[in-house]
Structure formats: structure tokens, C-alpha cells
Symmetry: C2
Subunit: 454 residues, 2 copies
């Protein structure tokens, strides 16, 4: 009989994270100060992040031990299963072998808790009282609420006001885990009050919410700020995905020719891809292809430029060299809210720039079509973000069909879509919109990039 999934017992969970920086000939250039644009030292980040995370951010060690207590929590759902998509292969009539790693089994429903748990561990070690963060549709906020609760930390979540009103379920999920969720802009910060004074009905934005969360963290003793993607330490924590998948692919007797992940800030894709990418960087697997998939609504990798830019709209966070469409670019309201980030993880960008990886972008209608096909064959209803990876896997499988090639495709199914069914409904009713992005919109945003002398 066919084998559908590859499961690892608790004791096969990775004991170390993989730090790809150690294997990059040219690592991403260091961060710059948001105001002076000078090189940023660890001290500059100290008020914002726990010290242990700053150390991981700049570490060049290849393997970083996962503390026992972190492993202990991750075992609530990890190792996550790796699936062979036999039914979908048949539906697509492809000779390709499609595998996917299923991160939807976590309590919060995505890969996000992998880093939330680690961050809370280090925050607790440092004696913090709590974390503040921002969240759009609520995916990251729920992961952090879940994790803070387990470590006895408080969690302050600034949730974009329009999502707070329209998507109550993720808010309730956060509250169930003890998170304190307020709509942003809020009256709890200067940043929020300033916006509300101008427009009491402001729908909010991720940029505003980030500003509120950072302000809250640095003005409340015992609090620091928690970030769910982009930076090195977050991507590091996500490598448990790929490290498990390496073992599981070995169980399956295959090695991927093509790796795929959707990328907003890039953490889930990097989490799957980096441990395999090591084989490419070291020359063991020179032909390995890695595809990072973004939304055409926010095409940092495919239509942006590789340049220094602020990580946040309010220009309070570090400046990083990355693929960007500009820190004040406002993407269309696609359902894949997690792919609406203007930049991309600097480590991924360096790999793209150096030719180790590829990027592509999709419109949301084609993406939902692929997700629907996947759901009908494999059962799982994925998040709209994840659907971008599904679409890329489908396209690669169809290329294999045309060429008669039996390549091995592995993608990261980063989360379920239980709170995003509105996107599927819109697709079923042919009410889903594709957004055409004018080049001048991007150029306008890019004109505001900082001038960094390298």
C-alpha cells in the first residue's frame, strides 16, 4: 500500500537550529540605524529585543542548541508530518512526486509558534514580564499569545482595527490563550493617539500597529517587542521545519529537486528551505532549486529592487539591505495578508542576489484555484498565503507533466485556512479580484528609500 505520510517520534525532533549564515560565502550586510543610517550594533537593539535573540541575530555559529524547555513545548505538535500528495499527483496527472510539510497541526494553525515559543523562552530567561507585538489578520498574534501563556508572560497585541472588527475569531483565539488584544490605532500609545486625533475612525494598518507595539514595549518596563518574521533569529527558529523534513524525505527515500515556500517576510519558506539549501551552498546538491513565492500585490522579489530600506513603515526599526517595494508601499487588500510586507528577509534576499534561489509572484485568483484543487485532492484547506506555494508546486508539477519528468517537489504547507474561508467563498462565487499593479506605484515608493553609502 502507498505511504501517505512520514511521521517522526518525539525523540527525533531536531536538537539544534541551523544557522545558514555560517554556510554563506557572502552573508547579508549588517543592519543600519533607522536615523543615522550608520552600522547598527547589538546595543542599539537591546531596548527592543531580548539579549539572547540579538546574539542569535548576529551569530555565525552553524548549529545553535534548542533549549530543552523549547523542545518540550514544540513537542506539543512537532515533529510535524510530511505528506506525499499521491491524490493530488493523480488529479494533476503528473509524473512528479509532490511532498508537503504540514505546519497546520500546531495549536495556532501555522508555523508561527516555532519562533514564538523560542522568543518567549528567552524573554522569560531574561526576566521579562511580557511581549508586545502587532498583528494583521491575527496569525502572528495568536502564535505569540499561545506561547506567552505557556511561559507565564503577558502578551499585548495591537491588531489592525479593520481586522479586529471583521475577523473576531482570531481575536477570540488570542483571548482564549490570555492575550490582551486592542484594535490599532489605540489610545494606549502616542502613535495611536496621534492617528485617532486625526481620524477617530481610522481602519489602521500594519505599519501603525508596529509603531504602537514598539512604543508600548520600550515604554513599559519589563516588556520587549516580538517580531514574527524577516530577521535572522526568526528564520533560525523556523529551521526545525526543514531539519525534520530532511529526515522525513530520507524515510521516503527521496531528495527534493525543487523546494517551494510562500514568502511574506520569508520565515516559513526559509524554515523549510535553508536546511536543504546547505547542500547547495556546500556543493553537494548544485542542481537543487529553491523557489520563494510572493503575491503580485506586493512583489518585493520580482519587481522591487535590492537596496537598503527601513523594515517598518514608521521608520523606527533597523534599515536592512533587502528586496523591497519601498517601506511606504501600500499593497492591495489581497486575502493573503501575510504576504503584504514590503520587504523580505535579508538572508533570503542575499541568496536570491547570489543566484542560489528563485522568486516568482502569483495573482490571488490563480492561487485560490490551486488551493481548491489541493483541498479536493488532499483534504486540507490551506491559508491564502500557503496557497501561493501550492500554486507554484502545481505549476512545477505541470512542467514535469509536459516534459515527462518525474521530479521531486517539496513545498511547505505553512498553515490552515480555517479563518480565511472568506477567500474560498469569494473564489467560488467568482467574486475574487486580481489587482493590477502599476509600475509607477512601485517607483513612487522606491523613490523614498534611504541613501546609504556602502
Amino acid at each position: 500500500m502507498k505511504q501517505y505520510k512520514y511521521v517522526l517520534p518525539d525523540n527525533e525532533m531536531p536538537t539544534h537550529w541551523y544557522n545558514i549564515i555560517a554556510d554563506m560565502k557572502t552573508p547579508p550586510p549588517p543592519y543600519r540605524h533607522p536615523v543615522t543610517l550608520e552600522l547598527l550594533g547589538p546595543d542599539d537593539l537591546a531596548p527592543v529585543f531580548p539579549a539572547a535573540l540579538i546574539a542569535q541575530e548576529v551569530s555565525t555559529e552553524r548549529w545553535i542548541e534548542i533549549p530543552d524547555e523549547v523542545q518540550d513545548v514544540l513537542k506539543m505538535w512537532r515533529p510535524a508530518p510530511l505528506y506525499r500528495a499521491h491524490r493530488w499527483e493523480k488529479a494533476l496527472d503528473t509524473p512528479a512526486k509532490i511532498y508537503y510539510k504540514w505546519e497546520g497541526v500546531s495549536p495556532a494553525g501555522s508555523h508561527k509558534p516555532n519562533t514564538a515559543v523560542a522568543q518567549c523562552y528567552y524573554g522569560k530567561q531574561e526576566g521579562l514580564e511580557g511581549f508586545a507585538t502587532e498583528t494583521g489578520a491575527g496569525q502572528w498574534g495568536s502564535a505569540l499569545s499561545f506561547a506567552t501563556n505557556l511561559f507565564g508572560l503577558k502578551c499585548k497585541v495591537f491588531m489592525v482595527a479593520v481586522s479586529f472588527q471583521q475577523k473576531p475569531y482570531r481575536r477570540i483565539m488570542m483571548e482564549t490563550w490570555g492575550g490582551n488584544v486592542v484594535p490599532s490605532p489605540s489610545s494606549e500609545t502616542n502613535a495611536g493617539r496621534a492617528i485617532l486625533a486625526e481620524n477617530p475612525e481610522s481602519p489602521g494598518s500594519l505599519g501603525i500597529a508596529i509603531s504602537e507595539a514598539i512604543e508600548y514595549a520600550v515604554t513599559h518596563p519589563g516588556y520587549k517587542y516580538s517580531l514574527g518574521s524577516v530577521v535572522n533569529f526568526v528564520l533560525l527558529h523556523q529551521t526545525v521545519i526543514g531539519l525534520e523534513a530532511l529526515k522525513q524525505m530520507e524515510m521516503a527515500g527521496d531528495y527534493p529537486d525543487i523546494l517551494i515556500g510562500c514568502a511574506g517576510g520569508g520565515s516559513n519558506a526559509a524554515g523549510l528551505i535553508f536546511p536543504f539549501m546547505r547542500d547547495k551552498l556546500t556543493g553537494a546538491r548544485p542542481d537543487l532549486r529553491a523557489i520563494f513565492v510572493e503575491s503580485t500585490a506586493c512583489p518585493s522579489m520580482t519587481r522591487g529592487i535590492y537596496a537598503y530600506d527601513w523594515g517598518d513603515t514608521a521608520k523606527t526599526g533597523p534599515v536592512a539591505k533587502m528586496h523591497t517595494v519601498g517601506h511606504d508601499f501600500i499593497p492591495a487588500p489581497v486575502h493573503a495578508g501575510g504576504l503584504r510586507y514590503h520587504g523580505m528577509a535579508p538572508s533570503i534576499c542575499a541568496l536570491l542576489q547570489q543566484g542560489y534561489a528563485e522568486a516568482r509572484a502569483y495573482h490571488q485568483v490563480e492561487v485560490l484555484e490551486a488551493a481548491q484543487s489541493f483541498a479536493q485532492a488532499e483534504g486540507f484547506i490551506v491559508a491564502p498565503e500557503t496557497a501561493h506555494a501550492v500554486k507554484a508546486a502545481m505549476d512545477e508539477a505541470l512542467v514535469c507533466k509536459a516534459a515527462g519528468e518525474s521530479k521531486v517537489i517539496l513545498f511547505n504547507a505553512s498553515g490552515h485556512g480555517h479563518f480565511d474561508l472568506g477567500a474560498y467563498d469569494a473564489y467560488h462565487r467568482q467574486a475574487l479580484t486580481d489587482y493590477k499593479l502599476e509600475e509607477e506605484q512601485i517607483q513612487r515608493a522606491l523613490a523614498k528609500l534611504p541613501k546609504v553609502a556602502e
Copy 2:
């Protein structure tokens, strides 16, 4: 390090279902005809159910082979993990060892697909074109839509109108898997049209939806009716839960002292409990306790009587001897919609009657309180139905604490609550209502039971 979960590889999935009827000294008495009240023969059921399922319904074989194609589909998520609730034990400060089987990993999010898949296999074998069924909040309808789609069958779902309007997400889920969902009462059946003629704004009820589904099935060539609980063959299909758990408890080096499941029609509880109950029926584990947990809003086992009653409100289905609060009893609108069935699986009732099992009932506020405690410790947010089992496990663990006893408790975590977060929200806001059930309400309903000469 502590072990948190026990996973079985694909090839350890059960190959046979366990039929408890084979081990019962006194099996439940046979069904009666809904009109004549005479003994019902397999032929009477033929227009409604596939022949293979009718054969399973009356089978006395102990082990019934699970067809390869059914096993193949179940492997999309089975074997399901068994968890040790180390964190919850600590939070409850109990010496008890608490285990739970986690059925929320199925694509539909509950145990329901275990039987939906089997029913669709046999339906396909028989050459059916599709199934019709009813659904309340959508749990069963989504399981059947998921399964029909995989076997290339059509799925007609009559969804209680008020849920259809108020809970669009499960409807969208069904549509994603290709289900054709209509609000009930509908204009597609005589039963529905009659209700609509009287009240065009009827909110519908499960009783009406059942009548519509059966009528649709018997009046549409190629269609039969699919049922998600209560009858023997459904409980049989659910025994994969307990058969896996038997192996997993062995991996854990423990054997349960107390088994717990929530029970509306009884299928998830029986699925976990019956394979262990075998050890009690055969005398190997005389002290094993099995607790079936219901809602105080519909207390068939704890306040109903053990008597013959119609299985459905419209009196079109078989009459069975069971614990019942009467076929036209209308339970309060508790969040645990799956526990609002007036009767109970006849096999469970026989075990209760013969002293092999216990029953208890809880109010919804205490139940949500327990679910909140569980979610904060274990991460998983369970369905309101499942929360009843969680509450019973908590109470038993607290009894152990008071007595200083380290008993082994195993309960079935039958599904996630991602589409039921409104119940948690109401609990957080102290807006959750407990319903007091007057004895005369039950007595009024019981007065309408059929008079069967035994």
C-alpha cells in the same frame, strides 16, 4: 525528557474494525418499524442505506476488515496522535495521568470523517451517484462532503437554515469539497415546502433537515441517505480511534483506569471506548470505568428513560430501544450542537443499562471553563462538544487529587473548536447561559413515546 505524544506510522493503522456486539452477552434489541412498530428486517432499510452498511449494522462478527481503499483515505490523517497532558496535569496539580486522543487533525477537524469515508466507499461500490444528509452547525456535513469528493460521489446537504445563515464558514468548507449545501427547510422536498408554506421564515431544525435528507435520498435515483452517528455501523467505523489508542497506551506503558467521551449520538465516545470495553466485557479489566458525557440541555442518559423511541423527530426512521428524552424534545440552543440529539446509540445504552458504563451531564458554562483551562495548558482549542469530555476528565483528575491517587485517565478530544469560537467569546464575556431544564418538559416529551410490546 518527557514524552508528550505517541505517534504511530501509517503501517500501524488498524486493519479491522472492532464490533462490540460480538462481545456483549445481551446485545441491544433489534430496531422496529417506524409505523407498524414490528421488528425491522434488513430489507426495510435497503432504500435508505447501502447494503454493505446494513450488513454491518446487524453483523455479530467481532472483527470486520477495513477495505484497503478506506485505509488508504484514513491515512490522510490517521493514525491520529495520542497525547499525554503533562502541562494540564501540572496546572490542575493532580497526581492523575491524563491522556487524550486528538481527532482534530482530520481535514474536517473531527472524528466524523472516520465513518464518512467508509460510507462513501461502500456507496461507491454499490454504484451510487451520491448521498444526501442533514447537518446542524456543519460538522457532519463537512465530513461527508470531504469524503464524497474523494470517491467521486455527489453530496447533498440540508443545513439547518439558522446555522446556514449564522455560520457561513462550515458551509464554505463543504462547498470547497464540492458539497451542494441548501438551507433547510428548502423548496427541494415536500417536507421542506410544507414547512415553508406555513412559515417562509422558518429557522429550520435538525428534525426537519433529517426528513428532507431522507426524502431527497429515496426520491432521487442513485442517492441514499448518510447518517453520522447513533447506529451500529457508524460506531463500528469509529473504533479505529480506540484501536489506535490501545497501541499508543501500550507505547506509553499505561492502561486507562477511566475512559471518557462526550456523547450526542455517541459515536466518538464509542469509537474510543469500545475497543477498551472489550477488556471489561471479557473480564480482563473488570474495574475499567467508562464515562459517557452529555449536555444537561439534552440529558437522555441521565434524565431520560430507557425505552423504544423514534430515532428522528419526523418518525420516519427506525424505532430503537435507547435512553431518550423523547423524539420531539426540543433542547435549549447550547453551543454544543452535536449534543442536542434526543436519543443515544442503542449499543451504548445497553452497556449503560447492564452496568458496564456510566453517564453524566454538564452545564455549558462549567464545560467552557474546563475547555479554557485545557486550551491554556495544552494549546488546543476544542469544540464545545469535546469540552464536555474535557470537563469530565478534569473532574476525575481533581478527584484523584483529593484522594491522592494516580489514576490513568484517557479521553477523546473529538474535534477542534475553530468554528465555534463564539462559545469561547461568550464565556470570556460572561455572556454564556446555563439552561435550567424543568422535569415537566421531559415528561411531556416522554409521553409521546411509541407503545412497543416487547
